[in-house]
Subunit: 444 residues, 2 copies
């Protein structure tokens, strides 16, 4: 029992990420990875490795000029491994939990539903591999074609930029080889659209992609998880874009000078990107206070479970919302689409919310204690790190080392998952053969 506990897959994931980060740090410290061939300081290499493996995209140095082509390749490989690894691992963990639940459910003779009917380990990895390859290839081709035809980039530059940004987009990594992100393409729908597509597909998560691939024309048989994630994503995407349009319409530092079509394009892109991808086509530092506040929310929620997205996840937010609705309406069950949400799912959702909030609050207070930077910018950077978003108001590079290490820790916690991490640190399960009598404490 003891040895089994140690080898439990939920404990393997935090360890695997840690090893990838350490290897990445070591490689990035090699002189060959640095543009000046002098070898990067350990804190720069560590921060970059964490940011890449955790597909965040926060940087303390400019990716395109600080690192050599080799260094940029290393970063690319790190975020591809990070994205692929998490997508596979999270799906497998989900499958395991689900299988044991399904078994238990069958024994108690209740209804059975297939959230994930994905088969075994190999086929999950295969599916992730195929989806990754196909999406990245198509998006890279689209970007290369556009960069050649509209910007007349030389072939090597176009290919490198196309491949880098396609992989970065699908993995929701948010790394760009340009210091200003994608601001130079802010009005180019032929660049931004393929990138948005890659972001959204990667960010929906494998359970949703699996349902879409196998039962695209049969929405009635989609799992509740798929329906919740798609509905929530659509609401957040459209709602976020509309609110940003309202808040930024006349802001001279962002949407103000743009044509109406460009305003809409930029708002949609910002809304898509805020929920974890982290590319910016407008200047984040120029956003109004209220748009920053909206970003807090979008970045904290993030994308779909078991995908390349971060945050507490759309499914979690939807379950919490359904729970609140049920409580307000006085319903006994939390329901969605003709199913009731299991107690264990609800309790997980709450745990994710509470732990996530606690991490953000503690991280914010810690960083505030190390600097004199305005609170709204610190909150932004902390949520961006925790949500593995990578958007920045521009303060990260100037933070003291202790604050940068805190951001690195937040990226790691955010990516590995608060529950996974907490569970793997906990002292292990204490099963008891009895239950305590029930009590109804006062609430609110």
């Amino acid at each position: 029992m003891r040895t089994q506990e140690v080898q439990h897959p939920a404990r393997v994931v935090p360890l695997a990420f840690l090893i990838a980060i350490l290897i990445g740090t070591a490689v990035l410290m090699l002189p060959v990875a640095h543009a000046q061939a002098t070898g990067a300081p350990w804190i720069v290499a560590l921060f970059t490795a964490v940011s890449a493996v955790c597909v965040t995209g926060l940087v303390t140095v400019d990716t395109g000029t600080y690192w050599s082509p080799f260094g940029q390749w290393v970063i690319l490989v790190l975020f591809q491994i990070g994205g692929f690894g998490m997508m596979t691992a999270a799906t497998l963990l989900g499958l395991m939990v689900n299988r044991s639940l399904r078994l238990r459910t069958r024994l108690t003779m209740q209804a059975e539903t297939h959230t994930l009917g994905l088969g075994d380990v190999t086929s999950v990895a295969k599916l992730v591999f195929v989806v990754t390859l196909v999406v990245e290839l198509l998006v890279a081709l689209a970007l290369i074609f556009r960069l050649r035809s509209a910007y007349a980039l030389p072939w090597p530059d176009a290919v490198w930029s196309g491949v880098f940004h396609a992989i970065s987009a699908f993995n929701n990594a948010g790394f760009s080889i340009h210091a200003d992100g994608l601001v130079r393409y802010a009005s180019d729908a032929f660049i931004l659209s393929p990138i948005m597509l890659a972001i959204v597909i990667g960010g929906l998560g494998l359970p949703v992609l699996h349902d879409l691939r196998n039962k695209l024309g049969d929405p009635h048989h989609w799992s509740v998880h798929t329906k919740l994630t798609l509905l929530g994503s659509a609401v957040l995407l459209v709602g976020g874009a509309l609110i940003l349009l309202v808040f930024e319409w006349a802001n001279p530092r962002t949407l103000g000078p743009m044509s109406i079509a460009d305003k809409v394009l930029s708002a949609v892109f910002a809304s898509v990107s805020a929920r974890t991808a982290g590319f910016n086509a407008i200047d984040i530092g120029g956003l109004t206070h209220e748009s920053l506040g909206l970003h807090y929310l979008l970045m904290f929620i993030g994308g779909g479970s078991a995908g390349t997205a971060g945050g507490v996840k759309v499914g979690t937010a939807m379950i919490l919302m359904l729970l609140v609705i049920a409580e307000i309406r006085g319903r006994m069950d939390t329901e969605a689409f003709g199913r009731r949400i299991s107690q264990s799912s609800q309790r997980q959702a709450i745990t994710v919310l509470v732990l996530g909030s606690a991490v953000v609050v503690l991280g914010t207070v810690f960083v505030l204690h190390t600097t004199d930077i305005a609170t709204d910018k610190v909150i932004f950077e902390v949520i961006s790190a925790f949500g593995t978003v990578g958007l920045s108001t521009g303060i990260t590079a100037d933070l003291p080392a202790s604050a940068q290490l805190m951001l690195a820790l937040l990226m790691y916690i955010g990516r590995v998952g608060t529950i996974t991490l907490a569970a793997s640190l906990a002292l292990g399960e204490h099963r008891m053969p009895y239950r305590y009598p029930e009590e109804h404490p006062v609430v609110g």
Copy 2:
């Protein structure tokens, strides 16, 4: 069934508070309430009435100089009614819920525990009345004695100040007749201690006071609610004071110039006061960013249920923490002190947290949209209003009318309670004779 729904007591509370606010506004608009006898503008009168009835203490004008003695009496009566009304109403609502739960529990033959064994409506009101009168009287006497002996105030001034601040403290109202709050008494333990005592007793809530009165020497038979509230309050009080000491120790605008004894006194008082009372003995505008962040948390959590305190309540926070611990440790039940917390209590706690967070986020974004004030100050004011705390960084008086009305709305929502309000606005319960099949969506 229809008529019964309309008259449900949970719907009476929001209405009663609304009526008290409207009457208070009308009276405060009378010329006799105004120091210059010209009649206050409606927005000033409304904001003050809401702040008083909802025992918050946020003000747009200086209580001691803007209002006439009559006006100050009106404010005193309003927050006494608000505190007494909420304490009684919340206890009665809790009793009802508990009684129906207990009945249900008995029918299903599970264990029975007495959270509230308070008897009928009259005896609840009587208990609230006695506790209120005794505490307010003793604290007022202590304050008057000190103001006479140490400050040589004339009798009328000493009595008025003592009575006003005693009632304000017990009701966690936070109103003061001094423009700078209690800064002038920042190093006087004989003034601050009785006030802290009144704050804490009023803020624990009636269920806790009832347990303490009837079973003071028998902690084993305290309800889980009492144990959770006392433990949580102690941890927040001590922890808050310690963290404030660390963050403010050398701050020249707050604790920096004080002696060590005064630093400790001020930190303890600030920690007690932040969780809903809203008196300030140090300058809130001079706090460090990280101390403001700590205040967000303390103000949001607030005090005990069914008392004069606001916030989401200590009991709620404790239940959520226990739930998270249970989830991390892989326990089936959420447990505390040898009892398991009922599913319904857990679901209520989550609802309070989610609705409270949503209200704070929406309120913040709204106020940010109306002004150019720094985000950290806006968040502070919004949480202070929602938690009916009344501490201020000093921005409230300068906010545009729309933002002031939003703060008034937040005070009302915070005081009446998100769940009570949401439930009374909901379309009524739809009971269905069947349950949907269960599903386990992916989380996190």
